[in-house]
Symmetry: none
Protein backbone atom coordinates (compact mmCIF):
# COMPACT_ATOMS: atom_id res chain seq x y z
CA UNK A 1 0.00 0.00 0.00
CA UNK A 2 1.59 3.18 -1.19
CA UNK A 3 0.44 6.60 -0.16
CA UNK A 4 1.34 10.05 -1.42
CA UNK A 5 1.21 13.04 0.87
CA UNK A 6 1.07 16.48 -0.74
CA UNK A 7 1.69 18.91 2.10
CA UNK A 8 3.88 21.97 2.38
CA UNK A 9 4.23 22.25 6.13
CA UNK A 10 7.17 20.01 6.99
CA UNK A 11 6.01 19.40 10.52
CA UNK A 12 2.58 18.21 9.52
CA UNK A 13 3.97 16.16 6.66
CA UNK A 14 6.43 14.26 8.76
CA UNK A 15 3.87 13.76 11.50
CA UNK A 16 1.48 12.08 9.09
CA UNK A 17 4.25 10.18 7.42
CA UNK A 18 5.42 8.64 10.64
CA UNK A 19 1.93 7.62 11.67
CA UNK A 20 1.30 5.95 8.33
CA UNK A 21 4.66 4.25 8.28
CA UNK A 22 3.95 2.77 11.67
CA UNK A 23 0.96 1.15 10.04
CA UNK A 24 3.44 -0.16 7.48
CA UNK A 25 2.25 1.82 4.52
CA UNK A 26 4.86 3.01 2.05
CA UNK A 27 4.79 6.79 2.07
CA UNK A 28 6.02 9.46 -0.34
CA UNK A 29 5.92 13.12 0.49
CA UNK A 30 6.05 16.13 -1.75
CA UNK A 31 5.51 19.75 -0.89
CA UNK A 32 3.73 21.39 -3.77
CA UNK A 33 0.80 20.87 -6.07
CA UNK A 34 2.65 20.68 -9.36
CA UNK A 35 4.98 18.00 -8.15
CA UNK A 36 2.04 16.24 -6.55
CA UNK A 37 0.09 16.17 -9.76
CA UNK A 38 3.06 14.76 -11.67
CA UNK A 39 3.82 12.11 -9.10
CA UNK A 40 0.20 11.09 -8.95
CA UNK A 41 0.12 10.32 -12.64
CA UNK A 42 3.51 8.62 -12.71
CA UNK A 43 3.20 6.38 -9.69
CA UNK A 44 0.26 4.12 -9.04
CA UNK A 45 -0.61 5.19 -5.52
CA UNK A 46 -3.31 3.54 -3.45
CA UNK A 47 -4.23 6.76 -1.74
CA UNK A 48 -3.38 10.44 -2.04
CA UNK A 49 -3.58 12.81 0.89
CA UNK A 50 -3.77 16.34 -0.43
CA UNK A 51 -3.57 19.57 1.52
CA UNK A 52 -5.76 22.14 -0.17
CA UNK A 53 -3.74 25.07 1.18
CA UNK A 54 -0.62 24.88 -0.89
CA UNK A 55 1.74 27.44 -2.41
CA UNK A 56 2.10 27.41 -6.17
CA UNK A 57 -0.65 25.44 -7.81
CA UNK A 58 -3.60 25.72 -5.44
CA UNK A 59 -4.67 22.38 -4.04
CA UNK A 60 -8.05 22.49 -5.65
CA UNK A 61 -6.46 22.85 -9.07
CA UNK A 62 -4.03 20.04 -8.37
CA UNK A 63 -7.03 17.91 -7.47
CA UNK A 64 -8.79 18.74 -10.69
CA UNK A 65 -5.59 18.12 -12.66
CA UNK A 66 -5.21 14.70 -11.11
CA UNK A 67 -8.77 13.75 -11.89
CA UNK A 68 -8.46 15.13 -15.41
CA UNK A 69 -5.48 12.85 -15.88
CA UNK A 70 -7.88 9.94 -15.27
CA UNK A 71 -6.17 8.92 -12.06
CA UNK A 72 -8.73 6.96 -10.08
CA UNK A 73 -6.79 6.77 -6.86
CA UNK A 74 -8.84 7.72 -3.80
CA UNK A 75 -8.03 11.24 -2.63
CA UNK A 76 -8.36 12.54 0.90
CA UNK A 77 -8.14 16.31 1.19
CA UNK A 78 -7.05 18.37 4.17
CA UNK A 79 -8.63 21.76 4.74
CA UNK A 80 -8.93 24.41 7.39
CA UNK A 81 -11.93 24.04 9.64
CA UNK A 82 -13.36 27.37 8.65
CA UNK A 83 -13.24 26.91 4.89
CA UNK A 84 -16.52 25.12 4.34
CA UNK A 85 -16.65 26.38 0.83
CA UNK A 86 -13.29 24.84 0.01
CA UNK A 87 -14.39 21.44 1.21
CA UNK A 88 -17.54 21.60 -0.81
CA UNK A 89 -15.57 22.45 -3.92
CA UNK A 90 -13.11 19.71 -3.14
CA UNK A 91 -15.76 17.03 -2.91
CA UNK A 92 -17.40 18.25 -6.04
CA UNK A 93 -14.05 18.21 -7.82
CA UNK A 94 -13.68 14.53 -7.16
CA UNK A 95 -12.16 14.14 -3.73
CA UNK A 96 -13.36 11.06 -1.91
CA UNK A 97 -13.09 12.42 1.56
CA UNK A 98 -11.73 15.26 3.65
CA UNK A 99 -10.36 16.06 7.05
CA UNK A 100 -10.29 19.42 8.72
CA UNK A 101 -7.13 20.66 10.34
CA UNK A 102 -6.32 20.23 13.07
CA UNK A 103 -7.30 16.57 13.22
CA UNK A 104 -6.58 13.63 15.48
CA UNK A 105 -4.10 11.31 13.85
CA UNK A 106 -6.20 8.34 14.83
CA UNK A 107 -8.93 9.76 12.71
CA UNK A 108 -6.68 10.06 9.73
CA UNK A 109 -5.76 6.41 10.11
CA UNK A 110 -9.38 5.36 10.30
CA UNK A 111 -10.25 7.29 7.15
CA UNK A 112 -7.25 5.84 5.43
CA UNK A 113 -8.39 2.33 6.28
CA UNK A 114 -11.89 3.11 5.09
CA UNK A 115 -10.72 4.50 1.78
CA UNK A 116 -8.28 1.71 1.10
CA UNK A 117 -10.81 -0.94 2.00
CA UNK A 118 -13.26 0.65 -0.36
CA UNK A 119 -10.80 0.66 -3.20
CA UNK A 120 -9.20 -2.65 -2.39
CA UNK A 121 -8.40 -5.04 -5.12
CA UNK A 122 -6.02 -6.33 -2.50
CA UNK A 123 -2.81 -6.89 -4.39
CA UNK A 124 -0.65 -7.15 -1.30
CA UNK A 125 0.94 -10.35 -0.21
CA UNK A 126 2.57 -11.17 -3.52
CA UNK A 127 5.25 -13.80 -3.20
CA UNK A 128 8.27 -13.31 -5.37
CA UNK A 129 11.53 -15.12 -6.01
CA UNK A 130 13.56 -13.76 -8.89
CA UNK A 131 11.08 -13.30 -11.73
CA UNK A 132 8.74 -15.94 -10.38
CA UNK A 133 5.66 -14.32 -8.88
CA UNK A 134 2.81 -15.95 -7.02
CA UNK A 135 -0.40 -14.16 -6.09
CA UNK A 136 -2.13 -15.97 -3.23
CA UNK A 137 -5.42 -14.14 -3.61
CA UNK A 138 -6.08 -15.37 -7.11
CA UNK A 139 -3.67 -18.29 -7.25
CA UNK A 140 -1.97 -16.78 -10.22
CA UNK A 141 1.60 -17.72 -10.98
CA UNK A 142 3.85 -16.08 -13.53
CA UNK A 143 7.47 -16.41 -14.46
CA UNK A 144 9.01 -13.60 -16.46
CA UNK A 145 5.52 -12.28 -17.04
CA UNK A 146 4.41 -15.57 -18.57
CA UNK A 147 1.38 -17.19 -16.96
CA UNK A 148 1.85 -20.69 -15.63
CA UNK A 149 -1.02 -23.09 -15.05
CA UNK A 150 -0.69 -25.31 -12.04
CA UNK A 151 -2.90 -27.98 -10.56
CA UNK A 152 -3.91 -27.37 -6.99
CA UNK A 153 -1.31 -29.74 -5.50
CA UNK A 154 1.39 -28.18 -7.60
CA UNK A 155 0.20 -24.77 -6.51
CA UNK A 156 0.13 -25.73 -2.84
CA UNK A 157 3.63 -27.09 -3.05
CA UNK A 158 4.95 -24.02 -4.81
CA UNK A 159 3.27 -21.64 -2.40
CA UNK A 160 4.79 -23.48 0.53
CA UNK A 161 8.22 -23.37 -1.04
CA UNK A 162 7.94 -19.70 -1.90
CA UNK A 163 6.83 -18.81 1.59
CA UNK A 164 9.97 -20.54 2.81
CA UNK A 165 12.34 -19.68 0.02
CA UNK A 166 15.98 -20.01 0.89
CA UNK A 167 15.31 -22.63 3.56
CA UNK A 168 15.95 -26.27 2.96
CA UNK A 169 12.65 -28.10 3.20
CA UNK A 170 12.80 -31.75 4.17
CA UNK A 171 10.34 -34.26 2.82
CA UNK A 172 8.58 -34.62 6.18
CA UNK A 173 8.17 -30.85 6.36
CA UNK A 174 6.71 -30.71 2.89
CA UNK A 175 4.48 -33.69 3.57
CA UNK A 176 3.09 -32.11 6.68
CA UNK A 177 2.32 -28.79 5.05
CA UNK A 178 1.20 -29.76 1.60
CA UNK A 179 -0.24 -33.22 2.10
CA UNK A 180 -2.48 -34.62 4.81
CA UNK A 181 -1.31 -35.72 8.18
CA UNK A 182 -1.88 -39.35 7.32
CA UNK A 183 0.68 -39.08 4.59
CA UNK A 184 2.24 -42.31 3.45
CA UNK A 185 5.94 -41.89 4.11
CA UNK A 186 7.01 -44.67 1.81
CA UNK A 187 6.12 -43.10 -1.43
CA UNK A 188 7.83 -40.73 -3.79
CA UNK A 189 4.93 -38.40 -4.56
CA UNK A 190 6.91 -35.43 -3.39
CA UNK A 191 9.70 -36.16 -5.80
CA UNK A 192 7.14 -36.57 -8.51
CA UNK A 193 5.55 -33.21 -7.79
CA UNK A 194 8.91 -31.51 -7.61
CA UNK A 195 9.52 -32.89 -11.02
CA UNK A 196 6.17 -31.58 -12.29
CA UNK A 197 6.97 -28.14 -10.90
CA UNK A 198 10.40 -28.07 -12.46
CA UNK A 199 8.86 -28.83 -15.80
CA UNK A 200 6.46 -25.96 -15.51
CA UNK A 201 8.69 -23.43 -13.83
CA UNK A 202 12.33 -24.06 -14.55
CA UNK A 203 12.14 -25.62 -17.99
CA UNK A 204 14.10 -23.53 -20.46
CA UNK A 205 16.03 -21.70 -17.78
CA UNK A 206 19.59 -22.94 -17.42
CA UNK A 207 19.57 -21.80 -13.80
CA UNK A 208 16.54 -23.24 -12.11
CA UNK A 209 14.99 -21.97 -8.90
CA UNK A 210 14.22 -25.39 -7.45
CA UNK A 211 17.30 -27.04 -6.03
CA UNK A 212 17.78 -30.53 -4.71
CA UNK A 213 19.70 -30.81 -1.48
CA UNK A 214 20.92 -34.35 -1.63
CA UNK A 215 20.19 -36.30 1.52
CA UNK A 216 17.97 -33.55 2.97
CA UNK A 217 15.26 -32.24 0.72
CA UNK A 218 14.62 -29.31 -1.57
CA UNK A 219 14.95 -25.56 -1.56
CA UNK A 220 13.65 -22.74 -3.69
CA UNK A 221 15.99 -19.85 -4.27
CA UNK A 222 17.93 -17.81 -6.71
CA UNK A 223 21.08 -19.63 -7.76
CA UNK A 224 23.89 -17.82 -6.05
CA UNK A 225 26.73 -16.59 -8.18
Amino acid sequence: MRILIVEDEPKVASFIRRALEEESYAVDVCSDGIQGRDLASEVDYDLIILDLMLPGLPGIDALKAIRDAKVATPILILTARSKVDQRVKGLDAGADDYLTKPFAIEELLARTRALLRRASGDSTGLLQVDDLILNPTNHEVTRGGQRIDLTSKEYALLEYMMRNSGRVLTRPMIAEHVWDLDFDTFTNVIDVYISYLRNKIDRGYDRGLIHTVRGSGYTLKLTDA
Copy 2:
Protein backbone atom coordinates in the same frame (compact mmCIF):
# COMPACT_ATOMS: atom_id res chain seq x y z
CA MET B 1 -33.36 9.47 -4.99
CA ARG B 2 -34.69 8.51 -1.62
CA ILE B 3 -33.05 9.45 1.64
CA LEU B 4 -33.69 8.32 5.19
CA ILE B 5 -32.89 10.59 8.13
CA VAL B 6 -32.54 8.97 11.54
CA GLU B 7 -32.46 11.85 13.97
CA ASP B 8 -34.20 12.45 17.29
CA GLU B 9 -33.93 16.21 17.54
CA PRO B 10 -36.99 17.48 15.67
CA LYS B 11 -35.45 20.83 14.86
CA VAL B 12 -32.37 19.35 13.27
CA ALA B 13 -34.39 16.71 11.47
CA SER B 14 -36.76 19.14 9.83
CA PHE B 15 -33.92 21.49 9.00
CA ILE B 16 -32.13 18.78 7.07
CA ARG B 17 -35.34 17.53 5.55
CA ARG B 18 -36.22 20.90 4.13
CA ALA B 19 -32.79 21.41 2.67
CA LEU B 20 -32.82 18.02 1.00
CA GLU B 21 -36.35 18.43 -0.30
CA GLU B 22 -35.32 21.69 -1.89
CA GLU B 23 -32.80 19.67 -3.83
CA SER B 24 -35.75 17.45 -4.81
CA TYR B 25 -34.76 14.34 -2.95
CA ALA B 26 -37.50 12.18 -1.43
CA VAL B 27 -36.99 12.25 2.31
CA ASP B 28 -38.19 10.01 5.15
CA VAL B 29 -37.54 10.84 8.77
CA CYS B 30 -37.63 8.65 11.83
CA SER B 31 -36.53 9.40 15.34
CA ASP B 32 -35.00 6.28 16.81
CA GLY B 33 -32.49 3.60 15.98
CA ILE B 34 -34.75 0.56 16.03
CA GLN B 35 -37.22 2.10 13.64
CA GLY B 36 -34.31 3.32 11.55
CA ARG B 37 -32.83 -0.13 11.31
CA ASP B 38 -36.16 -1.63 10.26
CA LEU B 39 -36.88 1.03 7.69
CA ALA B 40 -33.41 0.71 6.28
CA SER B 41 -33.90 -2.95 5.56
CA GLU B 42 -37.44 -2.59 4.27
CA VAL B 43 -37.02 0.35 1.98
CA ASP B 44 -34.39 0.60 -0.65
CA TYR B 45 -32.90 3.98 0.21
CA ASP B 46 -30.17 5.65 -1.75
CA LEU B 47 -28.68 7.24 1.32
CA ILE B 48 -29.13 7.06 5.06
CA ILE B 49 -28.23 9.94 7.33
CA LEU B 50 -27.79 8.59 10.82
CA ASP B 51 -27.30 10.53 14.02
CA LEU B 52 -25.05 8.54 16.33
CA MET B 53 -26.49 10.15 19.44
CA LEU B 54 -29.87 8.53 19.67
CA PRO B 55 -32.12 7.35 22.48
CA GLY B 56 -32.97 3.64 22.54
CA LEU B 57 -30.74 1.61 20.27
CA PRO B 58 -27.44 3.52 20.18
CA GLY B 59 -26.60 4.82 16.74
CA ILE B 60 -23.49 2.72 16.40
CA ASP B 61 -25.51 -0.46 16.99
CA ALA B 62 -28.15 0.64 14.54
CA LEU B 63 -25.38 1.14 12.04
CA LYS B 64 -24.01 -2.34 12.61
CA ALA B 65 -27.48 -3.84 12.43
CA ILE B 66 -28.10 -2.16 9.11
CA ARG B 67 -24.85 -3.43 7.67
CA ASP B 68 -25.51 -6.88 9.06
CA ALA B 69 -28.79 -6.85 7.25
CA LYS B 70 -26.76 -6.64 4.03
CA VAL B 71 -28.00 -3.16 3.31
CA ALA B 72 -25.43 -1.60 1.03
CA THR B 73 -26.88 1.88 1.06
CA PRO B 74 -24.31 4.60 1.72
CA ILE B 75 -24.52 5.84 5.27
CA LEU B 76 -23.56 9.29 6.47
CA ILE B 77 -23.25 9.60 10.22
CA LEU B 78 -23.64 12.71 12.36
CA THR B 79 -21.56 13.03 15.49
CA ALA B 80 -20.55 15.61 18.03
CA ARG B 81 -17.37 17.44 17.20
CA SER B 82 -15.63 16.17 20.28
CA LYS B 83 -16.33 12.47 19.87
CA VAL B 84 -13.43 11.47 17.68
CA ASP B 85 -13.60 7.93 18.95
CA GLN B 86 -17.22 7.58 17.92
CA ARG B 87 -16.46 8.67 14.40
CA VAL B 88 -13.60 6.23 14.10
CA LYS B 89 -15.81 3.38 15.28
CA GLY B 90 -18.52 4.51 12.93
CA LEU B 91 -16.32 4.41 9.90
CA ASP B 92 -14.92 1.04 10.84
CA ALA B 93 -18.44 -0.27 11.35
CA GLY B 94 -19.28 0.50 7.77
CA ALA B 95 -20.28 4.12 7.58
CA ASP B 96 -19.20 5.80 4.37
CA ASP B 97 -18.80 9.29 5.70
CA TYR B 98 -19.50 11.55 8.63
CA LEU B 99 -20.30 15.10 9.56
CA THR B 100 -19.68 16.77 12.88
CA LYS B 101 -22.40 18.80 14.49
CA PRO B 102 -22.87 21.62 14.14
CA PHE B 103 -22.36 21.65 10.39
CA ALA B 104 -23.11 23.99 7.55
CA ILE B 105 -26.08 22.76 5.57
CA GLU B 106 -24.21 23.44 2.38
CA GLU B 107 -21.66 20.94 3.48
CA LEU B 108 -24.28 18.30 4.10
CA LEU B 109 -25.55 18.80 0.59
CA ALA B 110 -22.10 18.47 -0.88
CA ARG B 111 -21.44 15.25 0.97
CA THR B 112 -24.81 13.94 -0.08
CA ARG B 113 -23.99 14.64 -3.70
CA ALA B 114 -20.62 12.99 -3.32
CA LEU B 115 -22.04 9.85 -1.74
CA LEU B 116 -24.85 9.49 -4.22
CA ARG B 117 -22.55 10.03 -7.12
CA ARG B 118 -20.17 7.47 -5.72
CA ALA B 119 -22.96 4.98 -5.20
CA SER B 120 -24.51 5.28 -8.60
CA GLY B 121 -21.98 6.48 -11.07
CA ASP B 122 -18.35 5.63 -10.83
CA SER B 123 -15.98 4.01 -8.41
CA THR B 124 -17.91 2.56 -5.52
CA GLY B 125 -21.46 1.33 -5.61
CA LEU B 126 -21.84 -0.10 -9.07
CA LEU B 127 -20.03 -3.33 -9.48
CA GLN B 128 -18.62 -4.00 -12.88
CA VAL B 129 -16.59 -6.75 -14.49
CA ASP B 130 -16.19 -6.46 -18.21
CA ASP B 131 -19.67 -5.68 -19.55
CA LEU B 132 -21.38 -7.30 -16.59
CA ILE B 133 -22.82 -4.65 -14.31
CA LEU B 134 -24.49 -5.12 -10.95
CA ASN B 135 -26.23 -2.37 -9.08
CA PRO B 136 -26.42 -3.28 -5.38
CA THR B 137 -28.92 -0.59 -4.54
CA ASN B 138 -31.63 -1.97 -6.79
CA HIS B 139 -30.31 -5.46 -7.43
CA GLU B 140 -30.27 -4.88 -11.11
CA VAL B 141 -27.92 -6.92 -13.22
CA THR B 142 -27.09 -6.37 -16.85
CA ARG B 143 -24.66 -7.90 -19.27
CA GLY B 144 -23.89 -5.96 -22.43
CA GLY B 145 -26.84 -3.72 -21.60
CA GLN B 146 -29.19 -6.72 -21.51
CA ARG B 147 -31.13 -7.13 -18.28
CA ILE B 148 -30.70 -10.42 -16.46
CA ASP B 149 -33.24 -11.78 -14.00
CA LEU B 150 -31.79 -13.57 -11.03
CA THR B 151 -33.36 -15.30 -8.05
CA SER B 152 -32.24 -13.92 -4.74
CA LYS B 153 -29.75 -16.69 -4.06
CA GLU B 154 -28.29 -16.30 -7.51
CA TYR B 155 -28.07 -12.58 -6.93
CA ALA B 156 -26.38 -12.95 -3.57
CA LEU B 157 -23.84 -15.30 -5.02
CA LEU B 158 -23.11 -13.03 -7.93
CA GLU B 159 -22.80 -9.95 -5.76
CA TYR B 160 -20.35 -11.72 -3.50
CA MET B 161 -18.32 -12.87 -6.46
CA MET B 162 -18.29 -9.44 -8.05
CA ARG B 163 -17.24 -7.78 -4.83
CA ASN B 164 -14.33 -10.16 -4.81
CA SER B 165 -13.65 -10.43 -8.49
CA GLY B 166 -10.21 -11.68 -9.36
CA ARG B 167 -9.89 -13.58 -6.12
CA VAL B 168 -10.28 -17.29 -5.92
CA LEU B 169 -13.26 -17.99 -3.70
CA THR B 170 -13.29 -21.34 -1.98
CA ARG B 171 -16.50 -23.17 -1.28
CA PRO B 172 -16.26 -22.53 2.46
CA MET B 173 -15.82 -18.82 1.78
CA ILE B 174 -18.83 -18.77 -0.47
CA ALA B 175 -20.88 -20.80 1.97
CA GLU B 176 -20.09 -18.44 4.79
CA HIS B 177 -21.00 -15.31 2.88
CA VAL B 178 -23.92 -16.41 0.77
CA TRP B 179 -25.50 -19.20 2.79
CA ASP B 180 -26.28 -19.51 6.46
CA LEU B 181 -23.79 -20.43 9.08
CA ASP B 182 -25.34 -23.85 9.53
CA PHE B 183 -24.49 -24.73 5.99
CA ASP B 184 -24.35 -28.40 5.13
CA THR B 185 -20.90 -28.99 3.75
CA PHE B 186 -21.72 -32.29 2.15
CA THR B 187 -23.85 -31.06 -0.63
CA ASN B 188 -23.17 -29.52 -3.97
CA VAL B 189 -25.57 -26.57 -3.85
CA ILE B 190 -22.79 -24.16 -4.57
CA ASP B 191 -21.84 -25.99 -7.71
CA VAL B 192 -25.45 -26.02 -8.73
CA TYR B 193 -25.83 -22.28 -8.23
CA ILE B 194 -22.64 -21.61 -10.10
CA SER B 195 -24.15 -23.58 -12.90
CA TYR B 196 -27.37 -21.54 -12.77
CA LEU B 197 -25.36 -18.32 -12.88
CA ARG B 198 -23.30 -19.48 -15.80
CA ASN B 199 -26.45 -20.24 -17.70
CA LYS B 200 -27.79 -16.77 -17.11
CA ILE B 201 -24.59 -14.80 -17.43
CA ASP B 202 -22.07 -16.59 -19.57
CA ARG B 203 -24.30 -18.48 -21.95
CA GLY B 204 -23.60 -17.43 -25.49
CA TYR B 205 -20.25 -15.91 -24.65
CA ASP B 206 -17.32 -18.08 -25.66
CA ARG B 207 -15.23 -16.46 -22.95
CA GLY B 208 -17.15 -16.68 -19.71
CA LEU B 209 -16.52 -14.57 -16.64
CA ILE B 210 -17.02 -17.38 -14.13
CA HIS B 211 -14.01 -19.61 -13.95
CA THR B 212 -13.55 -22.87 -12.13
CA VAL B 213 -10.31 -23.23 -10.25
CA ARG B 214 -10.11 -26.97 -9.93
CA GLY B 215 -9.28 -28.11 -6.45
CA SER B 216 -9.88 -24.66 -4.98
CA GLY B 217 -13.11 -22.99 -5.92
CA TYR B 218 -14.34 -20.38 -8.35
CA THR B 219 -13.36 -16.93 -9.49
CA LEU B 220 -15.06 -14.19 -11.42
CA LYS B 221 -12.89 -12.23 -13.81
CA LEU B 222 -12.17 -11.23 -17.32
CA THR B 223 -10.43 -14.00 -19.19
CA ASP B 224 -6.89 -12.87 -19.64
CA ALA B 225 -5.26 -13.08 -23.00
